[in-house]
Symmetry: C2
Subunit: 230 residues, 2 copies
DNA sequence: GTTTAGCTTTGACTTAAGTCAAAACACTGA
DNA sequence: TCAGTGTTTTGACTTAAGTCAAAGCTAAAC
């Protein structure tokens, strides 16, 4: 049973980064919960008693405006976490959450979570590490999105693969369309950009295998050097 | 003395959001440190013994590549925090950090920080709240940067001000150039965009006071409705 | 094999938004 | 008051990258 929960936890993009021992401790305090479509998780203004990890299904988070209309803020899917901010803050839920289809969730009660952290502060420390690392990555991506062009962003993505080695092969673990949205563009543009990088001589593309021919060149493109400037 | 540190802490964009009592506790374990230009904070691979908040000056973080050349990853300025990720993770510093000019920093020793969290886990919880809230905002901004145009982003920024009320006045607390970079654009474009929104009848601009004339319209522009579609 | 469906690539076209430079405006201190 | 500095606006121009639609590929399914 707890084993089953553990498996689900490690599908969450954030939690999977925790140290295994801590993740197990977290699984211990978790309980599973199934919702039918349109069942409500929590309401706006209600005291935040716990947060949820979505395993399957989908949950919409929305606010009820003064005029009674509901305004959807976001829809969350598998692997995403809902409601943790007010739980950590100790405030009320700032919005409502309702399942839009049959969903399986994992629930973490606030008091059990706090108790866990009191016994093992390292768990909180581990979570702080994950969040601040993620924050760093996002700050960087935001910078890149507004300052760099698609070519530089793709080059940067590819350059992560091979450190300093003069040549190597990167196997894309994402589909090209997924990669496109990862670096903030669309498949058509990505395709053209791959070709552009290939023409520059920095890489060679064969399906999902990218041969990095000139790592230095790739790095300089990644840092914003225009191809024409060479 | 500690009072002085406290003041500096509340200038950090992240720490200032902490509950005052916790911030004071944090100030208790902090020590001030002054660096001359080119003085090194820490080296790559060295055990992470603590992290720093920059009060004045500037610190560059860089990696030494296999070929000995230093590759600057980022330069941090006042209010920013350096080195917290490896400290939280309990790993070595992944890069080097050196002051690029005379700088005043505040140092948090890892062991004192952990000890503090052990005594008062609520402090960690409070920090978790701040980080996850910030993360949420960033996820949203990243979405907006790649999916929405400047007009929608500006409309959204302005719409935060007036909830559901049909009309109100928002006083910009940022300069227009700061606002521009906040929503991922440049002053020239921002200026034109303000005019565009004004022409649509949603707002009226007078210097740093923005009169919101039609909140509904503004909200629909914010959610991606093109002005031509009306 | 052939069909169907899902990616990926390509081409032709459009446009939002950036660049650069000049002008207008605002604010401070002499 | 005026000079002097910094910010905001404007205009003319350029371009990266998006849209849409068609054509190629793969690869599993019949």
């Amino acid at each position: 049973m707890q084993q089953h929960i553990l498996e689900n936890l490690s599908k969450s993009e954030l939690l999977r980064e925790m140290k295994p021992a801590f993740l197990e401790a977290l699984a211990e305090i978790a309980v599973e919960r199934t919702l039918v479509s349109d069942e409500t998780l929590f309401m706006q203004h209600q005291e935040a008693t716990g947060f949820y990890l979505i395993c399957t299904g989908s949950v919409k988070v929305y606010r009820i405006g003064g005029d009674g209309r509901e305004q959807v803020i976001h829809q969350f899917g598998p692997g995403e976490i809902v409601g943790e901010v007010p739980v950590f803050q100790g405030t009320a839920y700032p919005a409502c959450a309702t399942a839009v289809k049959k969903s399986r969730l994992i629930y973490f009660a606030r008091n059990r979570f706090v108790e866990l952290g009191r016994r093992q502060p390292e768990i909180f420390l581990n979570m702080l590490a994950i969040l601040s690392r993620r924050l760093r990555q996002f700050v960087e991506l935001i910078d890149d999105l507004s300052l760099k062009d698609v070519t530089a962003r793709l080059a940067k993505y590819l350059a992560r693969g091979c450190d300093s080695g003069s040549s190597c092969v990167v196997e894309l673990e994402l589909s090209k369309s997924a990669l496109a949205s990862r670096i903030g563009t669309i498949p058509a543009t990505l395709s053209r950009t791959f070709k552009k990088l290939q023409d520059s001589g920095a890489i060679k593309v064969s399906a999902s295998k990218i041969h990095i021919l000139d790592c230095e060149l790739l790095a300089s493109i990644a840092s914003g050097e225009k191809l024409g400037d060479l």
